[in-house]
């Protein structure tokens, strides 16, 4: 796996094994902030940024931990890196765009507990990716996450105008739509490894 080309890593992470629709990672923001396309896009960008930064740091941490022979510290150090990156992004957005800060609300600090971010760090370590490969992998995972979020937001914006029965409203409906999206993403399986 470690010698696969960068392009195939990207396609693999973003489409074939889409983090949201095939691995079920990052479902919470997928259900929570997929109400509007605009918010979804920015949330996707924020998550992608955190993913790339933490993937880079995870690569360095992993090298150090292997050197000092302490693999049991892996999880703890990864989560610390992610938490601090999120804190950084939070401060930046609060300063740069207070409106966006409000729109993302509680889901911004919750990027820390977004499983997709930690999963990128864990997967790239277990796959033995190099620095550049990790970068592309994180970028692909982020792109896939954003794509799923934006697709869902588009569908939900349309659903606003349609009549739905009482018991389907809310999460159940979003999950049904998510299931259909996931089905359609299975079509990408033929793209290759």
């Amino acid at each position: 796996m470690s010698d696969s080309s960068l392009w195939s890593i990207f396609i693999n992470a973003s489409l074939i094994n889409n983090f949201v629709l095939a691995y079920f990672l990052g479902i919470c923001p997928f259900l929570g902030v997929s109400g509007k396309i605009e918010t979804a896009t920015k949330m996707g960008a924020a998550v992608t940024f955190v993913m790339v930064i933490s993937a880079m740091c995870a690569y360095g941490i992993n090298a150090v931990l292997t050197a000092i022979n302490a693999p049991f510290l892996q999880l703890i150090s990864f989560i610390v890196v992610i938490a601090s990156t999120v804190q950084l992004v939070e401060m930046f957005i609060k300063k740069a765009s207070p409106a966006l800060f409000k729109a993302l609300g509680i889901f911004l600090p919750l990027i820390t507990t977004n499983c997709a971010v930690l999963a990128v760090a864990l997967f790239q370590t277990s796959k033995g990716f190099g620095l550049l490969q990790s970068f592309v992998y994180a970028l692909g995972a982020g792109a896939g996450f954003t794509l799923a979020l934006v697709l869902m937001a588009g569908l939900r914006e349309q659903l606003e105008f349609s009549e739905t029965i009482g018991i389907v409203k809310g999460t159940a409906l979003v999950l049904l739509v998510g299931g259909i999206l996931s089905l359609s993403f299975m079509g990408f399986a033929g793209l290759g490894g």
Partner: protein
């Protein structure tokens, strides 16, 4: 853990707890505030590892263990952790216990550990654990936190088992590995695929919703 302190933190819930103080903390996690079906927390693991009842059960128990241990420790330390860094401290405590269960799982069954894959490590970022730490353990006594963790843990395991059971029965025609469906039964392959997870959870939520609507009317 003084009595005064305890009374202060309970004020909001006082009316609901008055009838049955300790059982209520326990029962609410299992049913009324079920983490998956009612609070819609911890979706990622409940969808990802619920393709068979066995995986779902293992995942549920592992999560319940982490939940219990972290709830105990956090409620013990609740007076010592500064407010500003509490989330970071909670995450560190949780990550420690997850590392413990990760290694324990490897020792118990390497096969199970493989089939759950990265999702054991991902218990760290399970929203249920952090939300219980923040919403309950940081404000309540150890005894209550234990009951709360047990209730939530069992509720989570129960929900996972529901999803896993439905997916395994329909998708592989078996339950906990025992094949009981007749050979003529056409397996619903889609159920063990990711899409099946979404559909199963959606339908279970529909059932829960219809219960809720009925209760509201009554």
């Amino acid at each position: 853990m003084s009595v005064i302190n305890q009374n202060k933190s309970e004020k909001g819930f006082l009316s609901s707890i008055a009838d049955h103080p300790s059982t209520d903390e326990f029962i609410k996690g299992v049913w009324r505030e079920n983490p998956v079906f009612v609070q819609v927390l911890g979706m990622c693991p409940s969808l990802a590892v619920s393709n068979s009842a066995k995986n779902a059960l293992a995942m549920g128990l592992a999560t319940a263990f982490v939940l219990l241990m972290s709830n105990i420790l956090i409620s013990l330390l609740r007076d010592f952790i500064p407010k500003q860094v509490r989330i970071a401290s909670y995450i560190l405590i949780i990550a420690t216990f997850v590392t413990v269960i990760d290694y324990a799982m490897q020792a118990i069954s390497i096969e199970l550990h493989k089939s759950l894959g990265a999702f054991i490590a991902l218990i760290v970022v399970n929203c249920i654990i952090l939300s219980r730490a923040e919403a309950f353990a940081s404000k309540n006594t150890v005894g209550k936190s234990i009951l709360d963790a047990l209730g939530m843990g069992i509720g989570f395991t129960f929900a996972l088992l529901c999803i896993g059971g439905v997916r395994e029965i329909l998708g592989s025609g078996s339950f906990l590995g025992f094949e009981f469906m007749p050979d003529s039964f056409e397996k619903w392959v889609i159920m063990v695929l990711p899409a099946g997870g979404f559909f199963t959870l959606a339908f279970l939520l529909l059932i829960f919703n219809s219960f809720k609507i009925k209760n509201n009317r009554a």
